[in-house]
């Protein structure tokens, strides 16, 4: 954990204040208050149904929150359309099911948003795309289609697609849960490189080994609340709450 001290954590970039969210009668989030800082890597873990995915999906408003405040990069996230567009342009997301566009080529998956949203020329967009493919390690796949790639390659493509919009924050919703074990490492390697390059990341994951290496802070979710938070040292060596101890004993 020593390399963490080299990184400069920046100013606050995400603030959530008593955020709640219900699905019908089920309350997924019961009041989440937390702050995320620039360049910080935050890992969210906890039992299933604890609200982890719901929480990060409220940050780019794939799920609108019911009450409370969410402020991203100084912009409040609410019904306002312009605010939403701004937030979505600085937040990128990687899904558990990849959600790649099957009818577009690998290259086109990456270039479609920069071209259509940012108005880049095709040559510019393709240059960016090729650089990103290089960065995630699959430059030779540029003209294939997503269905022709392996699971690990697809998820790396999904990361490249999100990075093409030059986000300030990257959200990862259980990125490796749908992968075969031998492909998890390649995706985690890309995420590690991303973290070391200074991206603000919020990851929901079960990969504790990776998390311990890379995360600056951990948030333990249970039943819609943040039960405990702290650095890797604090959480794993000295968990304060009973529930944290219980969960850790089950997964480690």
């Amino acid at each position: 954990m020593q390399n963490k001290s080299k990184k400069q954590i920046g100013k606050e970039i995400i603030l959530t204040d008593e955020v709640t969210k219900s699905f019908g009668k089920f309350q997924a989030l019961r009041g989440i208050t937390s702050k995320i800082y620039e360049k910080e890597v935050v890992v969210i873990f906890g039992p299933s149904g604890s609200g982890k995915s719901t929480f990060i999906r409220t940050i780019n408003r794939l799920e609108p929150h019911d009450s409370g405040q969410i402020i991203v990069d100084g912009i409040e996230l609410n019904d306002d359309v312009k605010n939403l567009q701004h937030v979505r342009s600085i937040v990128g997301m990687v899904f558990q099911q990849f959600n790649l566009f099957p009818h577009l080529s690998v290259l086109r998956n990456i270039t479609i948003a920069p071209q259509k949203v940012k108005g880049l020329k095709r040559t510019e967009a393709e240059e960016i795309a090729m650089n990103l493919l290089q960065r995630v390690g699959i430059p030779e796949q540029a003209n294939k289609f997503p269905s022709q790639l392996s699971g690990g390659q697809q998820q790396r493509l999904a990361i490249a697609r999100a990075l093409a919009m030059e986000p300030k924050i990257m959200l990862f919703d259980e990125p490796t849960s749908a992968l075969d074990p031998e492909m998890i490492k390649e995706v985690l390697d890309v995420m590690t490189e991303l973290a070391e390059s200074g991206m603000t990341m919020i990851c929901v994951t079960h990969e504790m080994g990776f998390a311990k290496e890379v995360a600056d802070r951990f948030l333990f979710f249970d039943e819609g609340l943040i039960v405990e938070e702290g650095t890797g040292d604090q959480i794993f060596s000295n968990p304060k709450e009973e529930r944290t101890k219980l969960f850790l004993s089950q997964i480690l």
Partner: protein
């Protein structure tokens, strides 16, 4: 070796009591049908068809306008035969089928006065077929495919220009097989995009739009097509604005309007099924990339939705083509009407109703079967339906 085949024969056909009964019954049905069909063909007199060829195919179009029809035929056959080879050569079986159909169509068209034109058409077919084969193998494949696509889109306007240019015959004179094809083409060309719009409207989350689109779709699907056509006959003129002489538009145009509306409702239903089958994650990914509504729908959602339902779409289009025979209720003389009227009114052909009906059925059947074969080919090349 023959022992095995005998065993197989008995096993398949007489394996059990039930099986044997079925075999016997089927054989009887087969023999009965074949007997009747052969009896019919041998005693049939086909003059009713050969003499009235022109009427059957193009209705009462005056002779001086025939050149339009020939030009349309040439352009269409050029397009068809070039397209066959431009996206991969057809299988032997399909090739046989196509040649067979072409031969029969040539026989139908050939009379002493038209033999020259038929020969020209055949030449065009063969030339475009071979030339496109070579282009497909060469590096100009992409160009030819793109230009063919554009030509197909322009085909309908071209046909209309050819028909109407220079004081062409009024639409009321269009008839026969030509009428069916034109009606179907218009209905599909207009009905398809309108259907997409209504499908999107019905899938919308905005209640006002959703309700209105649903009402439109369900109302049109609620009544039979003949009822809607009858409405066009009696009522539509009264509802059209009186300026531009719009309320006196010809019956053919009215039929086109109704058929297009009808097609749009059924197309909307099919596409709605496709839209429902798209995983929610696609929309979420598009949203998180901040794609706007237009881009999301046109580049991400619709291509996937339509691709999934192409078989059902083509099936709907085949249905539209068959439904064009219903315009008899507007006193339009389409192919079926001509085939019915000739034996009834021309004393020379009394009692030859079956022969005429046969040819009519055959023409409809050819188009439908070709379209459904096309659908299978498209399904295979897109890999749908095979999991």
């Amino acid at each position: 070796m023959s022992n095995n085949s005998i065993k197989w024969f008995f096993g398949t056909f007489f394996g059990s009591v039930f099986n044997s009964i079925v075999t016997v019954l089927s054989a009887l049905i087969f023999l009965f049908l074949i007997n009747n069909i052969i009896g019919f063909i041998s005693t049939a007199e086909w003059e009713v068809v050969t003499v009235n060829r022109r009427l059957l195919l193009i209705g009462r179009m005056p002779a001086e306008h025939e050149w339009r029809i020939w030009s349309i035929l040439w352009i269409t056959s050029f397009l068809i035969f070039s397209s066959i080879n431009s996206w991969g050569s057809p299988s032997k079986r399909n090739l046989l089928f196509i040649s067979f159909i072409t031969l029969i169509i040539c026989l139908i068209f050939t009379t002493s006065s038209t033999i020259l034109y038929v020969v020209i058409s055949l030449v065009i077919c063969i030339v475009s077929y071979t030339v496109s084969y070579f282009i497909y193998k060469s590096s100009y494949q992409k160009y030819s495919q793109n230009s063919l696509k554009t030509l197909w889109i322009l085909l309908l306007p071209i046909i209309f220009t050819l028909l109407l240019i220079g004081d062409g015959p009024s639409p009321n004179l269009w008839g026969g097989f030509l009428l069916n094809i034109i009606l179907a083409s218009i209905a599909i060309s207009f009905g398809f995009p309108v259907g997409i719009m209504f499908a999107l409207g019905r899938a919308s989350s905005l209640p006002a739009i959703k309700i209105i689109c649903t009402v439109y779709i369900e109302t049109i699907r609620g009544a039979p097509l003949v009822a809607w056509l009858l409405l066009a006959w009696f009522v539509l003129p009264k509802f059209l604005p009186t300026f531009w002489g719009l309320n006196e538009i010809s019956v053919v145009i009215r039929a086109m309007i109704i058929l297009s509306a009808f097609t749009s409702a059924y197309t909307a239903e099919v596409i709605r099924g496709g839209l429902q089958s798209i995983p929610k994650g696609q929309i979420e990914a598009a949203d998180s990339l901040n794609l706007n509504y237009r881009t999301k729908i046109s580049l991400i959602i619709l291509p996937q939705a339509i691709r999934v339902v192409i078989p059902a779409l083509i099936s709907t289009f085949i249905g539209v083509f068959k439904d064009t025979s219903l315009v008899f209720i507007l006193a339009l003389t389409d192919l079926l009407q001509v085939g019915r009227i000739i034996p009834e009114q021309d004393p020379e052909f009394f009692g030859k109703a079956l022969e005429a009906l046969c040819i009519v059925a055959f023409l409809f059947w050819i188009v439908s079967i070709s379209l459904s074969n096309l659908s299978t080919k498209v399904e295979k090349s897109l890999g749908i339906g095979s999991r």
